[in-house]
């Protein structure tokens, strides 16, 4: 009885911190006190809370008030009622309703939001409270919606209604006897459906959210309601002009589909299929532009993927998508590259959605992977025999879009099922075994690893092999692995097409990374290793007789080295070097240091230097398709830190010793390594490197300047404390470089000047006037892109 009056007094304080403290204390009290202790003070507490929420400018205070109200309501809800005592909760809620309800009806809607929030906070505390409040408020809101005709007002009302619906969601199902909501089903549905047909996009979006919540309430929507729901979602998905609404409708379909799979597979999927097919075949419709067609097609494809959130639906949508793919590939008109990519994107999404369900995953894999391979092989053979027909599928863009599909379909397979699949796919590529493919009568044989001009198209398909074989779970044995590795190695060195050569190199690297360790090359360092994608711990590798790995690596080195020194394929050899080095660095293989030294040596090469420098980014960055944890690669913990420790001293040394034309390469390599380092490591290592970077800023070479600036900018954001020590040098040099004759350098310097503002204010204040004055000049720079950066930087300062 002493505490509560004190809290009430403090809530009236002018100091925000006092308010917050008292509110938080009140919330804590409610967990412990019972209604007996609170009874006397309820009116005053309510009065203060109400005043604060109605008048406050502070989000924090509002949030604490609402939390306190929630706690009060919860506390009172816990009380045990007896027949002769007052129902405190009821009278408390009644006073809240009395004070708030009428605001919801105001024509100018001044206090709607604060009132609604208060009511929702009180109602959310318990089922009892919810029933009491919703019984009074829901009919009112529904009435208000009909009364107000403007979209923005309706939006506000519906949003408030949604807040209450979401509270109902907490308790899941809707009980017949108690529920106000159920008795109001017709008007609620009518309101929501009306929102979905309103021209205002914002109102539609709220309507869609409301629909999702209603759909999740068991027993609420009737079968005829559901049909209407699907129809509305279809209409919004396909024909609503605004893409936001269309997307939201698709996502809503995706969340509701698992709850009502039959309705969606029965009603939505066939319609989407119809639209897709109709649209495709009647492309001679004169008036409608091909733009509209294309976007309708896109939407169908996206919607098919979005709604595939239940196994039974997947079995409907996947055949439709594959059918469309085959059609597009046969049609071969202009723009079909984009169509093919879109189908692949949809297939990818479905693949991701299937991964968690064993049955669904296997169904998907078995259905999609052979089909994609068949279509690709067919296209490749057509290319060999009749060039120019069916080209689109072989475009890099399309093959690259197929890779994630096959990869996602493979990574979550169990080892047994994966082994089954591997026994078909590898012989396809090595021996031309096409028997497992659907529709497998082909005009000629499939021999991607053979030499021959006319087989170029077939060779490109090694991208699909890579997607499959590099995504397999770790303990799946690959038939004829030896032979496969040799073929891949040969292909990466001898092929004329950069895409194919690179893909072969990546595939080789992906396999080498997972290959059991060899005896001759010694054991891999006993670092802790990452688990597989399923979180199983890998056993520590023990010395096994896998001489194969040593041999194949030696073979690779033997082929790489002459290729690097001279000849027409130096870049290709470098690509192979980079990928193999990455594969070995990730697993801490001893050979990786030999290969890295090679790479370091190439930094001073006139021709390959810049590419070698960029290669450091490849080594450190996460690659999307191979050699990452998701595809079960052997990625050891802290490999980046280890790489940094082993190689940065050499990079620094190299920089100081290098000739002026190649210094930039060392810097670039260094900045790539730094950019991928976890922040805590960066911060500890930075002081030693900073002097090198600052010196590099004074270098007159533009490329060096650019590399240094782009290296420094993220460091300013990540490690402001350390950079503060050199603020004087940095300010001077950055401002200097804003007058560089090279536009790119001016831009980079201005970005660094902008980034300087992340330093502590106390550090920056002495420089503020000078920098603002100096930045006035680039505001009048002759180039717009430079001016844009200057405006941003000067504005921040």
């Amino acid at each position: 009885q002493f505490l509560l009056p004190l809290l009430i007094e403090k809530m009236d304080s002018d100091l925000q911190s006092a308010k917050l403290d008292s509110l938080q204390t009140l919330t804590a009290c409610c967990a412990i006190y019972g209604q007996k202790e609170l009874q006397e003070f309820l009116p005053s507490l309510w009065s203060s809370l109400r005043r604060e929420v109605f008048q406050t400018a502070s989000e924090k205070v509002e949030a604490e008030c609402l939390a306190a109200l929630y706690a009060l309501s919860a506390c009172l809800s816990r009380s045990v009622l007896s027949s002769d005592t007052e129902d405190l909760l009821d009278s408390f809620l009644s006073s809240i309703l009395q004070d708030c309800r009428h605001h919801l009806c105001e024509p100018d809607m001044k206090l709607v939001w604060p009132s609604a929030k208060l009511l929702q906070a009180a109602a959310g505390a318990s089922l009892r409270a919810y029933h009491r409040v919703s019984h009074s408020v829901l009919p009112l809101l529904l009435e208000q919606y009909t009364k107000h005709s403007q979209s923005s007002q309706r939006r506000t009302i519906l949003e408030m209604l949604l807040g209450f619906l979401e509270l109902q969601q907490k308790w899941g199902h809707v009980e017949e006897d108690e529920s106000t909501l159920l008795s109001l089903r017709a008007p609620v549905c009518s309101v929501v459906f009306s929102a979905l047909t309103d021209p205002s996009v914002q109102l539609q979006l709220v309507g869609i959210r409301a629909l999702t919540v209603l759909g999740s309430l068991q027993g609420f929507l009737s079968p005829s309601d559901l049909e209407l729901v699907v129809d509305h979602l279809l209409r919004l998905t396909l024909h609503e002009e605004d893409s936001q609404s269309s997307k939201a409708a698709m996502e809503a379909a995706g969340s509701l589909a698992p709850i009502y799979p039959k309705v969606f597979s029965g009603r939505m999927v066939p319609r989407l299929e119809e639209e897709l097919q109709a649209d495709f075949s009647s492309s001679e419709r004169e008036e409608e532009s091909s733009q509209d067609h294309s976007s309708l097609r896109q939407r169908c494809l996206q919607a098919l993927a979005a709604v595939s959130t239940h196994t039974s639906i997947v079995r409907e949508t996947v055949p439709v998508l594959l059918q469309h793919l085959r059609k597009v590939q046969k049609g071969s008109e202009a723009g079909s590259t984009q169509d093919l990519v879109s189908v692949c994107q949809s297939l990818h999404r479905v693949a991701l959605q299937c991964q968690q369900d064993v049955e669904g995953c296997w169904y998907y894999h078995q259905t999609v992977v052979p089909c994609l391979l068949a279509v690709a092989v067919q296209a490749a053979m057509q290319e060999s025999t009749q060039p120019l027909l069916g080209r689109a599928l072989l475009e890099e863009e399309v093959l690259a879009a197929m890779v994630p599909v096959i990869s996602a379909a493979t990574t979550h397979l169990s080892p047994e099922l994966a082994a089954q699949s591997v026994s078909h796919v590898v012989p396809l590529f090595l021996d031309g075994e096409v028997s497992f493919l659907p529709q497998n009568s082909f005009p000629c044989s499939f021999q991607p690893f053979e030499d021959g001009e006319c087989l170029e198209a077939q060779r490109r398909l090694v991208a699909l092999l890579m997607a499959f074989v590099c995504s397999l779970p770790r303990n799946v044995a690959i038939p004829q692995q030896e032979r496969l590795l040799r073929e891949l190695l040969a292909l990466s060195c001898s092929c004329n097409c950069p895409f194919t050569a690179t893909t072969a190199a990546k595939c080789f690297a992906g396999l080498v990374n997972k290959h059991p360790a060899g005896k001759g090359a010694g054991q891999d360092a006993m670092g802790p290793c990452q688990g597989t994608g399923r979180g199983m711990a890998q056993p520590v590798p023990f010395v096994s007789p896998g001489q194969q790995l040593d041999e194949i690596l030696q073979l690779a080195v033997d082929r790489m080295e002459p290729g690097l020194v001279e000849g027409p394929r130096r870049t290709q050899a470098l690509t192979l070097l980079l990928w193999v080095t990455k594969a070995l660095v990730l697993r801490y293989h001893p050979l990786s240091s030999h290969l890295t030294d090679k790479l370091l040596g190439l930094l001073s090469d006139a021709e390959l230097g810049p590419a070698a420098a960029d290669g450091f980014s490849l080594l450190m960055a996460e690659s999307p398709d191979v050699l990452h944890k998701g595809c079960h690669a052997d990625v050891r913990i802290m490999f980046r830190q280890r790489f940094f420790t082993d190689n940065v001293p050499k990079l620094v040394q190299g920089f100081y010793g290098a000739g002026p034309d190649v210094k930039a390469n060392y810097l670039k390599g260094l900045s790539h390594v730094l950019n991928h380092l976890p922040k805590p490591v960066l911060v500890t290592e930075l002081p030693t490197l900073l002097s090198l970077l600052l010196e590099a800023l004074s270098c007159s070479d533009r490329v060096v300047q650019l590399s240094t600036l782009s290296c420094l900018q993220p460091l300013l954001l990540e490690a402001p404390q350390i950079m503060s020590l050199h603020v004087d040098t940095l300010v001077t040099k950055f401002l200097n470089l804003t007058s560089s004759p090279t536009m790119a350098v001016r831009i980079a310097a201005l970005r660094c000047a902008h980034a300087l503002t992340s330093l502590p204010v106390t550090v920056l204040l002495p420089y503020k006037a000078r920098v603002i004055r100096a930045l006035a000049k680039p505001l009048d720079d002759k180039k717009r892109l430079v001016r844009k950066e200057a405006v941003a930087a000067r504005g921040e300062w």
Partner: protein, 164 residues
């Protein structure tokens, strides 16, 4: 200032679409060829159209979405060093008009070379006190004095740095 529960002056704003990002042209990427300052550039300046209305935390819309500033009402003459920005308050009694005008003016002062003469005014016929507001905005001394007021300066800075 007004709190979160204070009256929404315009609870029913019409919302206009946002224009997209300005594509970079080949000419702009060329080191040598100069680009003159044009209307779009001023319009794209974050201060001109991205000032968020602090009166409406429920609907954090930009000035562009509210059609308070449109590109067509921004006029630049690089050779003559003049800029004129006309802005349209959402309702005729909008009490934020002066603050909005001042924020636009401040952003232009900070973003343009000194040689420019700046003219920020209310679109004729759209505000009850436009004459008075325009006069204030045109008065250099008045503007400078306003910016000496640290509280006002802080509010302006908040407006200008607010990004969604």
């Amino acid at each position: 200032g007004p709190g979160g529960g204070a009256p929404l002056e315009n609870a029913n704003p019409l919302i206009y679409r946002r224009s997209g990002e300005r594509p970079v042209t080949a000419r702009e990427e060329d080191d040598e060829l100069p680009d003159s300052i044009d209307d779009r550039e001023i319009f794209d300046n974050p201060g001109t159209h991205l000032i968020r209305s602090i009166n409406d935390p429920e609907h954090p819309l930009t000035l562009e979405e509210l059609n308070v500033v449109e590109q067509v009402r921004v006029k630049v003459d690089d050779a003559a060093s003049t800029v004129a920005v006309e802005f349209t308050p959402t309702i005729p009694h909008c009490s934020m008009a002066t603050l909005i005008g001042l924020s636009i003016k401040v952003k232009l002062i900070r973003s343009l070379p000194e040689r420019f003469k700046l003219d920020v005014h209310i679109t004729p016929g759209t505000h009850a006190s436009e004459h008075a507001v325009n006069k204030q905005l045109a008065d250099k001394e008045r503007v400078a004095a306003a910016l000496e007021n640290s509280h006002l300066l802080e509010v302006v800075n908040q407006c200008l740095s607010a990004r969604s």
